[in-house]
Symmetry: C2
Subunit: 436 residues, 2 copies
């Protein structure tokens, strides 16, 4: 029997995830030793608030008020960063740890998607790992699946539902037929949404994750600016009901692919067919679908957040460090990453769902369709739904277009919004029939 | 730049999968070198029939009529076994390769589930890997997810749909409302079922895979005899229609868990709720669901067979060998595997679906329920469906029981089958409401 290998671990940030990691390290010590003949010892911990009530007894561990003492400690082998600032303290600590030849594990997608290039380069230069399984899709082991299991595949496209809060809100709006604001309030009460939900509902959080996924899938330099994103705050309950009538669900879809040697990374709410795989990922769950030269479709589905699930992914990274694989943190050596340019989306052809609120007077539909027609946009379906207030002074006209270029649609809609019987901004949601 | 590392590969068995692997090795040479600075060179190949038409030009490779020349070759680093015999030539070649310190990759679940213990021990002793990502669920990277991503989780249960042929047949029976035999015939025409489909439809193939999965999940010694299996040949189209009426789908479910320190591994058709995750895996797809101490549910879904998908998994194993992880083939060192005893299933409590064909005379239902009642079996639902021939001389009575022990049910059914108005053997299918 070989001697048990010991890894000294320091942890900064002791919220739900940090506390769960410590709890797990204590409770699973025996099983870890049995499975991999290695142990992870907690060398020191740090957090903003020492007196906060936690699920473990902090008095058993070395507490540092100054987190920099963790990453300056020569005995520290692995530093786990769970503070979660986009730059500031998180970045400074991670950078210092890597410079001091300490492996880093983090769940911080904001930091990595904005400042990852610099950090991964330092990690590579110092021959240590910067791992982030917990940063994308919580407990779903998507990073390692891409980086190892299907690494020799040529990935064509990745798409997914990467944010549990928005997926919960959209699912509940559909189920309970309540408005975005009403469901958001409930989600905040349940802890499914933050008090300040902007990062989630505006699509930023999904965009952070998609940015990292596209690097893993396509070997692109990390470039958050390459991601175009739009959130769900403008999704009206009427849109969800209309989508249902048309055989679709509305989901906040993140997708990335290389087209004509340029990168297309988009986060936006989309109408996707009811029977498609991502349409069936409901509530707080996350799901990711990968299409490769070898696999028509590989779908992973699971918990996208929560202390336990995220801790599982941190353990996956601990195991990778213990394995000593010499596989680079991003799968690729830094000098192999490609700086893809962003695809111009204005020429992309897609179908659209339009909701146009108009005065109920004759000739309205003819004028709208003729404006669309002038830009060569043809119509697949029109739904005229009765006004919800029972009054017929205004009616929403729902139009599903055939595929058209975004710039042509914009041109037509600008003209239509100027028509005097059009009462509000036109709601536009992309339809993706090709998702299956 | 370090020198490119070369691995010499020999392949025996050049059917669909073997031919795809060779085709992929040729076409992806450049991308592999770029991604991992390693190359896989085809040293020699062998198959039963040299003159068979294949998708690649065999004249470019060293052909060996005697496959043993592949595994005796000192220059061979990796031997890929794709002959697929349960013992015989496959076993002898793999054994010889491992003894000669050659890594082995195989898709041969039958061989590994029956004779794996001996082979994995030889691999460990000789410090080489025996990898089998392609043996379970085709292109789904389930082996590596369990062995690496969630290896430090404590797995509670694994369940899945592991056989594409049977899943296709059951899905099509439901969609087209045709009998097992009719759909099997179509599946054979499409190439979705073998000419001799026994291994698939009798549940043996799923049992092979489940046996290996339970070793990966629970660190159990490989023991095919611990798997209880039943196929789908007795599933009547009436059962599928009745299941639908009751809100269920019938799927061939494989599941394994440790209960009271004993192993329960069962492959059987089950009624599972329509809205459950496995119920939505249709057609030739496979799906696996894992429940751990950290993850309520992690589901992987994808192609369970086919040349391309299987080749993807073989490439995953090639990558693992190139990575040089030192992780054991099964995740565990051989001497850490536990020889779990098989759980006695007769005391397991489950709900059951019963279809009892009876003469349509008065008092029938009372007699059946009183027999069930004598064994303490209570009834949740009764469906009396009209005879499909329009005649009322015989009617099927459909009963859904509350949870009861299998041995009590067997006792009651033995008595009921002896009643003179019962016209045929009773169809019994387990109902699993807990699957979600």
């Amino acid at each position: 029997m070989n001697k048990i290998k010991t890894f000294n671990v320091c942890i900064a940030g002791l919220g739900t995830v940090g506390s769960n990691v410590i709890d797990d390290l204590i409770n699973n010590h025996e099983i870890i030793v049995k499975k991999i003949n290695a142990e992870f010892k907690i060398l020191a911990i740090s957090a903003k608030n020492k007196s906060k009530k936690r699920i473990f007894d902090i008095s058993k561990y070395q507490w540092k008020d100054d987190p920099f003492e963790l990453v300056k400690n020569d005995k520290c082998d692995i530093f786990i960063e769970l503070i979660g600032e986009e730059k500031g303290l998180s970045f400074d600590l991670v950078k210092k740890a890597l410079e001091n030849h300490i492996h880093v594990i983090t769940a911080n997608k904001a930091m990595l998607s904005k400042y990852g290039n610099e950090l991964f380069e330092i990690a590579e230069k110092n021959n240590v790992l910067l791992l982030f399984e917990a940063a994308i899709a919580g407990g779903i082991p998507i990073v390692k699946v891409i980086k190892q299991s299907i690494f020799l595949n040529k990935i064509k496209k990745i798409s997914g539902i990467l944010n549990g809060t928005t997926n919960f809100i959209l699912s509940e709006m559909g189920k309970k037929k309540l408005s975005f604001k009403e469901i958001l309030g409930k989600a905040q009460q349940n802890g499914y949404a933050e008090i300040n939900p902007a990062n989630d509902v505006d699509g930023v959080d999904s965009a952070h994750k998609l940015s990292l996924l596209s690097t893993l899938c396509f070997g692109s330099t990390i470039n958050f600016d390459n991601v175009t994103y739009k959130g769900i705050t403008n999704i009206d309950i009427e849109d969800i009901k209309n989508a249902e009538k048309l055989g679709y669900k509305i989901k906040l879809i993140s997708e990335s692919e290389i087209i004509d040697n340029k990168i297309m990374s988009v986060v936006e709410p989309k109408l996707i067919p009811n029977e498609s795989q991502l349409a069936n990922i409901d509530g707080v769950l996350n799901g990711v679908k990968i299409e490769t030269d070898h696999l028509q479709s590989l779908v992973l589905k699971g918990e996208g957040a929560g202390g336990q699930a995220t801790s599982s992914s941190i353990f996956s990274d601990l195991y990778e460090i213990a394995l000593d694989t010499k596989s680079p943190s991003l799968g690729y050596a830094i000098n192999k990453l490609i700086d893809y340019k962003k695809l111009d989306l204005s020429n992309k052809s897609e179908s659209y769902y339009l909701r146009i609120l108009v005065k109920d007077i004759s000739g309205v539909l003819a004028k709208i369709t003729s404006n669309l027609n002038e830009e060569g946009i043809s119509i697949e379906t029109i739904l005229q739904t009765p006004d919800k207030n029972g009054s017929q002074e205004q009616i929403p006209i729902i139009i599903v277009t055939h595929e058209t270029k975004k710039r042509l649609l914009s041109k037509a809609l600008t003209k239509i919004e100027k028509l005097d019987f059009v009462l509000d901004n036109i709601a536009v949601i992309t339809i993706d029939k090709s998702i299956n």
